[in-house]
Amino acid sequence: MRRRSMSAARRGIIALTLFAAACRSADAPKLVETIDSHAATARLLVAELGTQHVSRRYAIDLTHRLGQGLDQQATAAEQARLSSDDRRRVGDALARARRDVARAAAVAGAP
């Protein structure tokens, strides 16, 4: 009896998780917006580094986090059901963002 109720609870949690995932499923415009946001953060960082407003340590750390964020978006894009056009748009945005983040990392002197 106890085992059955635990199994029901587990099924409930799985159903809730799937429901939450379905509600938040990634779509192309949302993915592009998030990726562009990372790129914009990287550009702002480059500008602030140029005027020496922020420390290099901070910039290196932030570019590392932005890179991690882009990896997460790339994984989300792979798992999402996207048309080939949308997949290309997301891919282009990812490429642009990676360039911006790499530039920020280079300006910061990241290893």
Binding site: D36, S37, Y58, L62
Partner: protein, 405 residues
Amino acid sequence: MKKLLEVALGMVTGIGGFLEAGSIATAAQAGADFGYQLLWAIALGTLALIFLLEASGRLAAVSQRTLADAMRERFGITYFVIPLVVGLLVSVLVLSSEIGGAALALEMATGIAFRWWALPVALCGWFVLWRGTFGAIENGTALLGLASIAIAVAAVRLHPAWAHVASGLAVTRPTHDRAHYWFLAVGIFGAAVSPYLYYFYSSGAIEEGWDVGCVASNRWSATLGNLFGGALSAAVLVVAVLVFRTRGIHVERFQQMGLLLTPALGHWGFVLMLATLGINCFGATAEVALSCAYLLAQAFGWEWKQDARPREHARFSLSYTVVIVLAAVPTALGVDALALTNFSMALTSASLPVTVLPLLVLMNDRAYLHKHCNGWTSNVALGIIGVLAVVLLFVTIPLQILGGS
């Protein structure tokens, strides 16, 4: 003169105490994602906090009982178990996010990953509680927290269109991401009215020996202090609109906050933002841990007084020691601080009914308040907050699923 000083100190405490990980994170996300549209939620949260703090302070000053004491006495331990458990759970989550906020400020300053800072921050917080007096903790962190005024200076220097800013005070429907909009509104409200604030405030009133003569100064310091605190929270939102939203940046990591003030204040903006985040989160860490210890001690009838030596009130001291160590664990394990903050602020909103509704009853009980019972204004305000709290209880979890980050 003494009363004036008390009010001034209360205002400073309000300014320093209002801004913490939750209010900074939710206001910055709101500004970046929805412009000025969610300013009304900050205004609503500020007004609600003014009424809740004024009521809990008046209750303590007149009845010589903290909010927890009065709730346990009036409704019995059978009911009080609910606000006790809910209050502790929510406060530990809030405490975790404050430790995370302070640890992230240190990460941004040193480059050492935030998870390594979790235990040192908790240890420093514990040391301050172990060695410090109530006044030193409350006023010291609040005075240092005045660094937050830099956010208001940045907001003015960025020249926002004030007419647009003012338009955000009206509740409007979002044009996109509705669930996320309402989730942020709930989070902003939760960040403003965390139950730990009024448990802490009423316990502080007893620690400081308030009496009926403090009713007026309590009203002024609760009102003015939180108005200033709310204004600073609104300033975070305004700066986030002008720095993040105009560039298409969404706030997805606490680390982005390091860039919030630099366009307006240059290098000092970076330093002051880290100081604001670090000091306010550290101050909130000490206050939330102390609030948990107050709640536990008052629930179980233990001796409690922050100004006494720890060994004189051993169970009280042990309570904040255990709570602060427990709360450091999520950050030490590397749990994302922004997600934790959003989650804990939303849950705080959901937990409000168990405290707000009993407070409304207590504030109308002549056995406690005598001639200082609620007038119609306070009753209407607390009634509205109570209804809102019940609504939030039912909508928070669905919004967490649909709109949480």
